[in-house]
Symmetry: C2
Subunit: 666 residues, 2 copies
């Protein structure tokens, strides 16, 4: 006589099947392909496979409550509660057996491929499926009758207990393999990446971490992520130590070109910095560094190459040939990282000679290649990396904006650090200036400003501050649409001061030994050059797509996070777009690195997307110069746009025939 079969439904997947009495729920779930996690392989140790016996009626059999249809609480589950605390009415699905019809809830925390909670609204959802997973395994003891090597015995056990066949053991584990196997009586937890055992821990080991790093030209930002929960457990940042070899990328390349072999020093510097951010993050989160089992590192092509030990000279001149553009996978030891030596290190593909793995990661974080709206993604640094497109077609280029947006080459410019002016308003009638300083809460015309600013002083103006200053100067008639300083205002306001053959507009007068902060004619020109370069690149892509408008704009990077999109549009950094469709997306490259760390499939996704991207080389595009020259002046804006500002009259922005030509109507 055959045993009775009981129907079981798993929620939320809705998968259902019939099972003989006594079947463990975990086995039933596996047979149905229901996503339930387990690290210990059904031994009741890890608690990852917890489920809830659902209330409510069973649709087919009209059973009011199904709780009684599950086997009684086992000794193993009692032991688990003693070790790890109450299960709160949940059951370990590896030990709870089917004794009647059931509806089972699998909570998100028990799913292998659970969603990672998004840090903010603009991020994409991440389905947790990290590059490295842990497998607890009990290895047969070595005996005289069993002549297999310990390595082979471990691999055979992984094949038998986890159906993981065809694995190999990284050579770095061989030295300690025998000790580790014997440390907890042949019970070990294997960390597996791809088809390789990359780490081995004695006994049941439940934690694994990964580091997502954006090696920027200026700063190195790292997030230490828990590979089990997907959460960021620590973040650390560091100024790129290569700054001492040159402020911007090109001077670092020059440095290398002048000193053959100099790239080795740059390589050491960036690798040491990586080690530093790793150790800092581990120390913050109190994570042992040997539990860091995976890395994703993104960077622009020059940082990418230097990190890999490649002389970036070829990137310094046409044809800007990358040594390698595909994704690169290494191991931690290859970069001398003080983590688990075999931990895989993934570098996403570079898109082109000036459009790096950081841009690929930014696209992964904001996957315009999957969407309908035609999206413009700009990542503004010393070069602007520009990507335009949607699911039909994606184009990318880089434009040499120079460092003005980062506050460099501006008379009072500085990086966006304490003491820098980051926001600024000019009264169009009185031309009086009020501003906000980084690290100081009140605006300069609000109570408590003087006391608050005393600690830092006002030391200069950063990228977002100079953008707002130039925008406000335009709105207040201090400059013309062509960017010319209106010297005649010197009669009206003492802020307009003669300055060589031109004039300068004083934002903060010199006082108490602090120097004056002013915007000079040259500062305005620098901003015009930078924004013209950016806009010309954008136009090049729009012409090639072709489209005369974009549906949404995402501005990435540190500068992009601080800039007010209104001013970016006012000055014509970016094309016309409904303002609510313009957003600052922060360090998108860093977010993308985290996506690639936590979800293995996303790597294939971005590799395939990058292969499809059409690269436009601004240096040989015939139209680039034309677009660039046309974009030098500040565009005419239609009335609805003006309403965004509190301005009523704009004295100096009435006629500009060129502008009409270069701005397509929607």
């Amino acid at each position: 006589m055959s045993q009775p079969l009981y129907p079981v439904v798993f929620q939320p997947s809705g998968r259902r099947g019939e099972f003989v009495e006594g079947t463990p729920l975990l086995d039933a779930a596996r047979q149905l392909g229901v996503d339930i996690d387990s690290l210990c392989g059904g031994r009741g140790l890890c608690g990852r496979c917890q489920i809830l016996c659902a209330e409510g009626e069973f649709p087919k059999h009209q059973i009011a409550s199904t709780v009684g249809n599950l086997s009684a609480f086992t000794a193993t589950e009692q032991k688990f509660e003693q070790r790890k605390g109450s299960l709160d009415g949940r059951r370990l699905s590896c030990h709870a057996r089917i004794e009647g019809p059931l509806v089972i809830d699998v909570p998100p925390s028990s799913q292998i491929h659970r969603q990672v909670i998004k840090k903010d609204i603009d991020e994409r959802e991440i389905e947790l499926d990290p590059a490295v997973r842990l497998f607890y395994v009990e290895v047969p003891v070595a005996t005289l009758d069993d002549a297999r090597g310990d390595a082979e015995r471990l691999l055979d056990a992984l094949a038998e207990q986890w159906s993981r066949t065809g694995l190999r053991i990284d050579r770095s584990l061989l030295a300690d393999l025998q000790r580790t196997l014997r440390a907890d009586e042949w019970r070990v937890t294997a960390a597996i990446a791809d088809d390789t055992v990359i780490a081995l821990f004695p006994g049941l080991h439940e934690s694994a971490y990964g580091l997502a790093v954006d090696v920027g030209s200026t700063t190195i930002a790292a997030h230490l992520c828990d590979l089990v929960s997907g959460r960021v457990v620590a973040s650390s940042g560091l100024m790129n130590p290569q700054n001492r070899y040159g402020e911007d990328l090109m001077s670092r390349v020059t440095n290398v070109m002048m000193n053959p072999g100099g790239e080795e020093e740059l390589t050491s510097a960036v690798r040491e910095a990586l080690s530093d951010v790793l150790l800092t993050a581990c120390s913050q989160a109190q994570v042992p560094v040997d539990e860091v089992l995976a890395f994703v590192i993104v960077g622009n092509p020059i940082m990418h190459h230097l990190l890999l030990g490649i002389d970036p000279t070829e990137l310094g001149g046409a044809p800007f040939a990358l040594a390698v553009d595909s994704a690169v996978t290494l191991q931690a030891r290859d970069l001398e990282l003080p983590a688990n030596p075999a931990a895989p290190v993934y570098l996403p593909p570079c898109i082109a000679g000036h459009v790096g793995a950081d841009c690929a990661a930014a696209i992964l974080a904001h996957p315009l290649y999957r969407q309908d709206p035609v999206t413009l993604l700009v990542d503004i640094g010393t070069n602007a990396e520009i990507v335009l497109g949607n699911k039909d077609r994606v184009l990318a280029c880089s434009s040499p904006t120079g460092p003005a947006f980062e506050g460099a080459q501006i008379s009072a410019g500085q990086r966006a650090t304490l003491g820098a002016i980051e926001r600024l308003r000019i009264d169009p009638q009185t031309r009086e200036v009020r501003c906000k300083v980084i690290g100081v809460e009140p605006w300069s015309d609000e109570d408590g400003f003087a006391a608050a600013v005393a600690a830092t002083g006002i030391t200069g103006i950063c990228g977002s501050g100079i953008i707002e200053a130039v925008g406000e100067m335009l709105l207040a008639g201090v400059i013309s649409a062509d960017g010319l300083m209106q010297g005649s205002l010197a009669d009206v306001t003492p802020r307009m001061q003669p300055d060589g053959e031109s004039h300068r507009f004083v934002l903060i007068a010199a006082q108490d030994g602090q120097p004056e902060i002013a915007v000079t004619q040259n500062d305005v020109r620098q901003i015009q050059l930078a924004k013209a370069a950016l806009y010309a690149g954008v136009r090049l892509l729009m012409d090639a797509y072709p489209t005369d408008a974009v549906d949404q704009i995402q501005i990435a990077g540190a500068f992009g996070s601080n800039i007010d999109p209104k001013y970016a549009m006012l000055l014509g950094l970016i094309p016309d777009c409904a303002l609510e469709s313009v957003s600052a997306v922060g360090n998108a490259a860093s977010t993308g690195a985290r996506v690639a760390l936590l979800n293995l499939d996303s790597r294939a996704e971005i590799e395939s997307a990058v292969r499809r991207i059409e690269k436009i080389e601004t240096a040989i595009a015939d139209d680039f110069q034309e677009h660039f020259v046309a974009a030098m002046s500040i565009p005419h804006r239609s009335d609805p746009f003006d309403e965004l500002f509190r301005v009523v009259a704009r004295p100096a922005a009435t006629t500009a025939p060129k502008r009409r030509r270069r701005r397509p109507r929607r």
Copy 2:
């Protein structure tokens, strides 16, 4: 109208086909699967594809001579002769085109899979198919229109020009990739192992080398092989520097057990020695070390583990668990070898805790697993590794012979170096002794011996010498079949001297300040113990097979090369076998390493053979002790065997009841 088709036959394969006029011979050969080498990909540069237009009639078409049916000598071939010397009437098959029916001879030197000339009669044939091959390739120049990375451009060229797809580039090449591609105008030669480009040379590069190493307990022996011709171009040897940590393996293991972490020092010592033999061999053959592109390293389990950085403690006691028994593939950089960093290093599998990769290599050199005769292969060192079987079944074990066969633990014993007695005869009537000394041509009773030996002196007796001494002592009645010194002979010959409670037999009297060289009762006991251990191991395998006789015996190792098989059989080191079927096969492990270096398929062959080998653990075999005790005395020999010796009467070897029991009749 279709072009005429001409029949072409390639010799020696006999493959034939019909081809349109103008087809290059190399293309025709490729289409037919005829084995013709080419490094330059048909550019007329490398000369590897030379063929001869054969004389003689064309069987189908009765054409007297076919020479006129080949296209005229080309400018490319003229240029080749200017660069590399006369083709001697041969043609480059990449440039010679079919213009009529042809019979083509492909000389062995133009075949990819040519046979390597055997060094001596006992070696197996090696079909050349090395782990690393060279591919000349012309890479498209980087341009602004071609945004591919240089790495991808190289891989694409290899796919297009050589149909090698799915390749990857080793990370060690990335740093210099761009410089190498540009060094000779984007012409490079790629060295490919498996699916990886492991080295890159500018322009056409025609040489590649590999090193086959046997890391023995006592000595490290290396052969540098030309991977193109298969020839050994240099050999170098070195005493294993680990000797300073203990003469024999077990004392090295003890050393490590006493000093945790001590294995690191042993590992460094053996890796440095490997570097030394590599550099010495390269310097001998004037080969640049970066042209060494492949390694095969064999060794006993302890040397194997130490080389890999594995603490061998587990091998020092039951259950003698190997950390890893499968074949291991690493790269030169992993062992800090000063060769091409990505050069693959192959270590064949270990068979069991005492039967190492050296034994696997020995089996590969003498593949008894492919043959009909039941073969006994013994590799004698501090442990004897014993393999028995044929194509039906193979068994292996290790037996603790101790170091007596290497001259250790013998009163006058020494290694087989200059000054050691290696051969010895005792006149059965007079008990006078004559001997041969290593490094001295004449025997001691021949003219010129005194003068020749003056340079070295007679410093001791080595393994083969002590075996012959004990054998001759038995034949001359100096010892009994039980190994007892016949003290009564002291009345007859002054060579028999009292020695404590027993006697010793003086081989060389003390003179001119040189000490006496004698065989003591203890020396005889040591040899009896060693040979009993060896024989007991052999018997264990014969019982397990089961067989009571073997068809052939191969004795490997340094000791095995020097020993006279007659004496080995006289003393009962090895079982009865027709003497002509007993051979010394020299350093079979080293030969096997060379086979694995030059022929890739042989690796799969030995891995599969090793998996099939049945391991017998002597330590737990019930019969081992019994066999061991029974084998202590010296066996009774039948008359035909006696005739091999010049002896007429053997006074002391008449009765020995035990012996009959342990020696199966054939």
